[in-house]
Amino acid sequence: MSDPILQLKGVKTDIAQYHILHGVDLDVPRGAVTMLLGRNGAGKTTTLRTIMGLWKPHQGEILLDGAHINGLNPAQIARRGIGFVPEDMGIFSDLTVEENLRLAALSGQPIPERMDWIFAAFPALKTFWKSAAGTLSGGQKQMLSVARAVVEDRELYLIDEPSKGLAPAIVATLARALKDLKNRGATILMVEQNFSLAKALGDHVAVMDDGRIIWSGAMAELASDTNLQERLMGLKMESAG
């Protein structure tokens, strides 16, 4: 495994009176896709939101490129080079597709070459360029959400369940775009429930349960061991697919 760009050491996060993360230890290697898997309620989304500073950890360390980012606000963390695709997409419905993407380009102007790539990956965004984002379909909104994170080069992309609730054709489009992003050398930490998609994209995997990482290793190892999948995630049926 190459040197980690992101490290979590004993991260504990509470939401109101609930203890959600009970000490997460995670290394995210540079230039690879790390999948964060686990049952519902295992703490995957909370882990991403804690990295982004949307929830404050009460214990532990989060290091980005060796520098502590605990205690920074989400805007500061984003400006350190993290692109975030939240589970709820978080698009700005009243703004147009164009305005959503321009807003995400912190330099003020999206790079034309990157825009060409986004339009090639998600042609619908070009079609609806001047339309209000709120009028897009669910799949198009997800495309916009991903496009917004990748509109500029980032050190790390945090992507939370991009395939959730989408039709297979849309999932295939997203998978192609993410694969392309990976081939460009991007570092991605992605939460995904669709194990087929996780297998197709992931180089490394960390499995969570009850607010902790209970297993981590190469995706190839987990993908080839159905017993391990069943033991970690109860994936007997899914792994057959």
Partner: protein, 349 residues
Amino acid sequence: MMNILSGDRPKSVILSVLLAVILLALAFAPFLFPGSRSLETAARICIFIVLVASYDLLLGYGGIVSFAHTMFFGMGAYGVAIAIDRLGTGYGAMGLGALVGMVVAGIVALLIALLSLRVRAIFFAMITLAIASAVAVLVSQLSQFTGGEDGMNIRIPRELTPAFRLGEVFGTRVNGKVLNYYLVFTGCLVLFLVMLRLVNSPFGRVLQAIRENAFRAEAIGYRVVFYRAMATCLSAMIAALAGSLFAIWLRYVGPSTTLGMEIMLDILLMVVIGGMGTMYGAVVGTAIFVLAQNYLKELMGGLSEATSALPVIPDLLSPDRWLLWLGVLFILSVYFFPTGIVGRLRGTR
């Protein structure tokens, strides 16, 4: 033209016509509608368009509910009044008063924003209400500076008063009052176009993004508190300038004309009727509301007379009930245009 409007097209033929009619009516009001009452109404519409638009910058674009907007309006008005009172009549004193009022409003808004914008919206609204009430009481108490409850009469330069006569244009006598009107009209037009530029700039887009999803905007890399504080300051400073123009126009400043909670409620109604988050909503909402405030009573009197032969209806349309019908109009407009008149005409939300 699109450059002047900062690329913000009305996006509706009816709305375009409506805006053009309002603009032309205001631009030629002294000649189209002679008489001091109609000029008074036109000036009030101009000033309230700016005041309501500046509140919409805060509420409609920033999603910030504040009850202190009239306080900033009052700061601009009292700035001019106190400056003239202390320095004597003159354009310099007027300008200095407006500038000081604007700066003080900006500083107070910044302090309120920094202290309060981190709390939940409802608490921010309550804090602004408390501060606005405290300032209103203070203005009443500090009568040696503010004239207390009686307010202050302002001696503006003679060129802006009815005593200054210029002659006749298109059969209308042009005097200082007309010049004063065009000062107000031009000032308001410039301030409105500045706001239009603001909301259509990257700053305005970030504000809209924050209104929709503050967490997401923060996660993209925008400091929500900074942008909200900026919006609060800009909105307050523009409201103060509107207040300065109001003081110059009325030649009087008092708590009831600038600081009253009734004015705050009127602003809220105008924003809602016109449509939140659309600068043009301020134009349409204000024009309808101020016209209704000023002429509904007469209109109802005429209707009551015209229907005097019918049972019940003349009583219902009695001019004394004009406030009731204003309320009914408001309820109907909210029911039929939940996104405001402009929102409905644009059909975007």
